[in-house]
Every structure is written in structure tokens, then in C-alpha cells.
């Protein structure tokens, strides 16, 4: 069990810097999700924590040690890879036991630890199989098991679920969370899937282009995005962004500044009764909810999320959009959140 502290972490490949100074403090037992678009540097950051990538500058603390120069095995971590990285020529048992064997853990202890992990992950029937004889979900579990048996201070996950189908992904997501809770091990989890981030994280680090845009609890981040990027990235469908203010009694926005409104914070009303009017382009009924795609007179596209049981407005019809002005977020030209 350990806390992790990242101090001004930078990473350059040759002359190109890909991580531009990241700070974070992660407390013991916390589940932290690093989320961001492809190529933003999530894996690089995680791999620096793991010791698989050198740190260009800054310090990484795990527990009370600075681990910058330590080999992965000296850092008391375990890692689950996106493609599982199981040793194809070893049985499930040997895959899980390999790290312990190297650490010279006595045989009976290895057997009991693997047995315990296998029981937890329901892998007992498969211990003698080779990875290629397992399904994707089972492989995923073996990869988890390999991490668990080492009893590390920190779990590192790099998109561990992205090779699974949608249904299995949801199931494994829950299992990972439950397991982490049960073991109480600090976890650092990388994903580009914001739903996964929202559901798993105690706190999340939203990354973009090598910087941490915001660190916070999922619902906090959702409700109070610090930047336009975060506002757009977290939430699906993304926040509506308008380049002119629709709030009553406001002047025009500064050049480049925008306002944002979440789709669920807009209601359909009779034309003329809302903050503004728009024409319905088309509707996407999703069952529990319906997304109504509208175009305003100014040409802005706005998505409205309404209850699935409300009858759909006809395509091309004019509607009013009722918005609580307090729900509207403003961002300046740099994309930073502003007070009003």
C-alpha cells in the first residue's frame, strides 16, 4: 500500500517533449484514472511510473521513496497490459507464478498465492491451460491474476479492457473495481474511454497533449470542467458549444470565447418561450432517452437530451430551448473556464 506523488514530470523523445510537466498526489488505496484522447501521453506517463520509460525530468515518489532510477521490479508495482502480454508458452499457473519465482518466493507460498488469486478470479479450472486456449475475458483475468499474486503496493493498468467486447467490458470493469476495493491497493488506470473513467475513478486525471487539464472526482469534473477540452471530452454526447452568448441581458462574447451547455440541461419548449428557438434537424431515439439535434437561427448545432418517453418533435419543426442560465458555463479564448 502506498501513496504516489508525481512532481513536474516531463518526458522527451529526442527533441520532442510529449509530457509537459505533470503534478499529482495520489493517496493510499485510491483508484485514479488517467483519461484523454489517443496520443496525449497517458501510456507514457503510466510507463514512467512503472519504470519502463525513463523520466526526462521531475520526480516520482512511491511510498516514501523516489523511484526515478529504480528498475520496475524494485518499485513494488504490478502492471496489466492492453494486450495482456501473457507468456504464450507458459500455463496460466506459470504465468501467474513467474514473478514470484524470480523473487525466490518459496514454492508452497507461490502455490497458495496463485490458488488464492485463481479462486478470486474464478480461474481455477484453467490453471493448466496455455493462454491461447483461453477466451479474451479469461486472458484478461489471468493478466489481473499475475498482478494480484505479487501483492504490489500499486496496480498499473494500461487500457486493460479495450480488447474485450462491449458487454464483457462492462462486466470486467465492475470486477476490477470490486477487486481493487477489496485489496485496497492504490491503482493507476489508463483509458481513453470516458465512461470507464467516470465509473471506475475515485479521482481522474484528464490529460490532453501532454498536460493534465484537470484532476478531480468524476462528478466534480463533469459538473465543473476546468477547461473547454475537459467539458468536451467528458460527457456523451459532448457539451454544446456556442460562440455567442444566449443568456438574456449579456453583451457579445470576447473574441474566441464560448459558452457551453450540457445536452441534459436543455428542455424542449414551445417556440418563443425558451432562451432561444431552433429547428429540429433529426432525432435519435435511444430508448431511455432521445437525442434531439437542432440548428439555431445563427447556424449553431445543439443537441438536446430528453426523456425517451416524451413524444418526438417532427423533423423540421421549430422548438424553443429552455435553459437555466445558471447551468451555462463560459470559457475564455484560451479555453479556460471563466466565472460567468
Amino acid at each position: 500500500m502506498a501513496e504516489i506523488k508525481l512532481e513536474a514530470i516531463r518526458k522527451s523523445y529526442g527533441r520532442t517533449e510529449v509530457i509537459h510537466g505533470i503534478d499529482a498526489e495520489i493517496s493510499d488505496g485510491e483508484f485514479i484514472v488517467i483519461v484523454g484522447p489517443s496520443g496525449c501521453g497517458k501510456s507514457t506517463l503510466l510507463r514512467m511510473v512503472a519504470g519502463l520509460e525513463t523520466i526526462t525530468s521531475g520526480d516520482i515518489h512511491i511510498g516514501d521513496r523516489v523511484v526515478n532510477k529504480l528498475e520496475p521490479r524494485e518499485r513494488d508495482i504490478a502492471m496489466v497490459f492492453q494486450n495482456y502480454a501473457l507468456y504464450p508458452h507458459m500455463s496460466v499457473f506459470d504465468n501467474m507464478a513467474y514473478g514470484l519465482k524470480i523473487a525466490n518466493v518459496p514454492k508452497p507460498e507461490i502455490a497458495s498465492r496463485v490458488a488464492e488469486a485463481a479462486r478470486m478470479l474464478e480461474l481455477e479450472p484453467y490453471l493448466d491451460r496455455k493462454p491461447r486456449q483461453l477466451s479474451g475475458g479469461q486472458r484478461q483475468r489471468v493478466a489481473m491474476g499475475r498482478a494480484i499474486v505479487r501483492k504490489p503496493a500499486v496496480f498499473l493498468f494500461d487500457e486493460p479492457l479495450s480488447n474485450l467486447d462491449a458487454k464483457l467490458r462492462v462486466q470486467m470493469r465492475l470486477e476490477i473495481k470490486a477487486l481493487q476495493r477489496k485489496l485496497g491497493v492504490t491503482a493507476l488506470y489508463v483509458t481513453h474511454d470516458q465512461v470507464e473513467a467516470m465509473t471506475l475513478a475515485d479521482r481522474m486525471i484528464v490529460m490532453n497533449a501532454g498536460v493534465a487539464e484537470q484532476v478531480g472526482a468524476p462528478l466534480d469534473v463533469y459538473a465543473n470542467p476546468a477547461t473547454l477540452f475537459v467539458a468536451g471530452f467528458i460527457g456523451s454526447p459532448p457539451m454544446n458549444v456556442l460562440s455567442h452568448d444566449v443568456r438574456p441581458g449579456r453583451g457579445p462574447l470576447d473574441a474566441g470565447a464560448v459558452i457551453g451547455i450540457r445536452p441534459e440541461h436543455i428542455d424542449l419548449a414551445a417556440p418563443g418561450t425558451g432562451l432561444l428557438d431552433a429547428d429540429v434537424a433529426f432525432c435519435e431515439p435511444l430508448g431511455a432517452e432521445t437525442l434531439v439535434h437542432c440548428v439555431t437561427a445563427a447556424g449553431d448545432k445543439i443537441v438536446v437530451r430528453i426523456d425517451g418517453e416524451v413524444s418526438l418533435p417532427a423533423d423540421g419543426s421549430r422548438v424553443g430551448l429552455a435553459i437555466d442560465p445558471a447551468r451555462i458555463l463560459a470559457f475564455n479564448a484560451e479555453g479556460k473556464r471563466t466565472a460567468d
Binding site: 512503472a50 520496475p72 497490459f81 502480454a85 507468456y87 508458452h89 513467474y98 514473478g99 524470480i102
Partner: protein, 281 residues
């Protein structure tokens, strides 16, 4: 090409007939050799020789094995085996090691070393026999297994093959091993070697044949009969001038000399084809 298209009776029979003819042509020399190894010298020196095996199989093979020519064939077979295994194992080991270094480490002169090894592709023994002979002689390695084996074990081909193979092994596996605490040596032994074993086996088949069939090199450096290999030893048994030769014994020796590599090819056909195709890619 498709067997599905145009499968009509006559065509099929012609195809099989053609193949059987081809096989007959390919196998005829061996059949003749086999027949010759089962008859007596008298049957052979007055043509035409018989086309069916005679009753002297054991006589001829025993004579070959125990008496042979300048040295008994069993000894030559043993020498061939040592040389073939030495070349095969030696090549595989040094190629595995150097390919591992070149793929998994970054060090000064890495590319220089790589090109130096690569250039040996251009220097088959046949091209540099005289100077190589002198080097081996000056090292005092004539008539020794070391002299037979060492000059033939540097192999750019095998190094390349392993390099290609290592490049296809996912990086994550290496990282997982590092996280598990494996250093470079453990990774090599525990992960890389077991994952390469079919490729090693395939290469083993090809290299064994290569090693067994060496001719020029043993011819040059083994002057003592007790060091002769069977492939070159058979040449010593051939007639020079007008002395008579025991053809049945020579043919028995030829059959014995072919047997190990042919068995390897037929017995490990899958591996053989894999090794052949891959070592030429």
C-alpha cells in the same frame, strides 16, 4: 493453381502419370545405388547390371561399416555426425546470442557489428578456401573437430532469421517480464528461447543437412583418415587410375551417407519446409 477447375478424368490421370514419371526420374539414381549396394562386384562390372536388389545387403553394408576405404565408414559417419552437430549447434547458439544483442540492446558499434556479420553472407568458404586453410593451419587446427567446425559456424543467415523473429515478439511481453523482475538473461532463457523453439528446430533441420553435406572444407583440412567425414571419405574410395573399385561397398557407403539427412528431411518435413522457406526470406 486450382485443382477445382477442370477436373476431368483424363486430365487427372495424365497429371498423376506425369508426377509418377517425375518421381521415377528423381528416384532412379537412388534406386540404382541401392541395388548396387546389394549385389556383388561381379554383377556390376559386366553390364547391364541387375535392376532388382540382390542378396548381399548385409555383406556389403557390414564391409563398408567395418572396413570401408581408408577408414571404416562407422568412424567417418561418427565424424560427420560430430561435425554436423557442431556446426548446427554452434551456428544456432552464436546467432541467437548476437541477434539477441542486436535487437534487445543499444550499444556503441551496434550497427557496425550488424554489418560486419551481414557481410559474411558474401564470403562462402568456397571463395576463400586457400587463405582460410592457411589461417586454420597456422592455428594448428588441421585434423581436428575444432578446425572442421569453427570456420563454418559464423552465419549471417541464422542471425537474420533470429533477428526477424525477435522483432515480431511483442514489446509488452518484454515489459511484462521486466515488471515481473526478469533481467536480460532470465528473459532470454525463460521467455525468448521457449518462444523461438519451433524456429530453432526448423533451422536445426536445415543446418544439420548443411553441416552433414560439407565437402570441400573437410577435404582440405582432414588429411588423417581417422578424421575423414563420410561425404569426403567416399571420394577417397573412388578409383584413381586403373585400380578396381568395390562398387557395392562404395554404393553402400553412399546410401549410408545419405541416410541421416534424408531421414531428417522426411521425418521432419514440416519443420524442414518451414526452415527452408524462412531462411530464404
Amino acid at each position: 493453381m486450382s485443382g477445382m477447375v477442370e477436373k476431368r478424368g483424363v486430365g487427372t490421370w495424365l497429371t498423376h502419370a506425369g508426377l509418377i514419371f517425375g518421381i521415377a526420374v528423381i528416384c532412379f539414381p537412388i534406386w540404382i545405388a541401392f541395388v548396387a549396394s546389394t549385389v556383388t562386384q561381379d554383377d556390376l562390372i559386366r553390364p547391364p547390371m541387375p535392376l532388382l536388389p540382390g542378396p548381399h545387403f548385409f555383406d556389403n553394408y557390414l564391409e563398408a561399416l567395418l572396413t570401408g576405404g581408408v577408414a571404416p565408414v562407422w568412424q567417418m559417419l561418427l565424424n560427420s555426425l560430430v561435425m554436423a552437430l557442431g556446426i548446427t549447434i554452434g551456428k544456432i547458439i552464436i546467432s541467437l546470442l548476437s541477434a539477441y544483442a542486436i535487437v534487445y540492446f543499444r550499444f556503441r558499434f551496434r550497427m557496425l557489428f550488424f554489418w560486419l556479420i551481414f557481410m559474411t553472407l558474401m564470403l562462402p568458404v568456397e571463395v576463400r578456401i586457400v587463405p582460410t586453410y592457411e589461417v586454420v593451419a597456422s592455428l594448428g587446427l588441421l585434423n581436428s573437430y575444432t578446425g572442421l567446425i569453427l570456420p563454418l559456424i559464423a552465419s549471417a543467415t541464422a542471425t537474420f532469421l533470429f533477428r526477424q523473429l525477435f522483432m515480431t515478439i511483442p514489446d509488452e511481453l518484454t515489459e511484462a517480464a521486466r515488471v515481473d523482475g526478469a533481467g536480460p538473461i532470465r528473459f532470454f532463457i525463460d521467455i525468448l528461447l521457449p518462444m523461438s523453439r519451433t524456429n530453432i528446430a526448423a533451422l536445426f533441420v536445415i543446418l544439420f543437412i548443411y553441416g552433414w553435406n560439407q565437402y570441400l572444407w573437410p577435404l582440405l583440412i582432414t588429411t588423417e583418415p581417422s578424421m575423414n567425414t563420410v561425404i569426403m571419405g567416399i571420394k577417397q574410395m573412388l578409383p584413381t587410375g586403373d585400380q578396381t573399385v568395390e562398387w557395392p561397398v562404395i554404393m553402400a557407403t553412399a546410401m549410408l551417407a545419405m541416410l541421416p539427412p534424408v531421414l531428417v528431411v522426411i521425418g521432419m518435413q514440416k519443420l524442414f519446409v518451414k526452415g527452408l522457406v524462412e531462411s530464404e526470406k
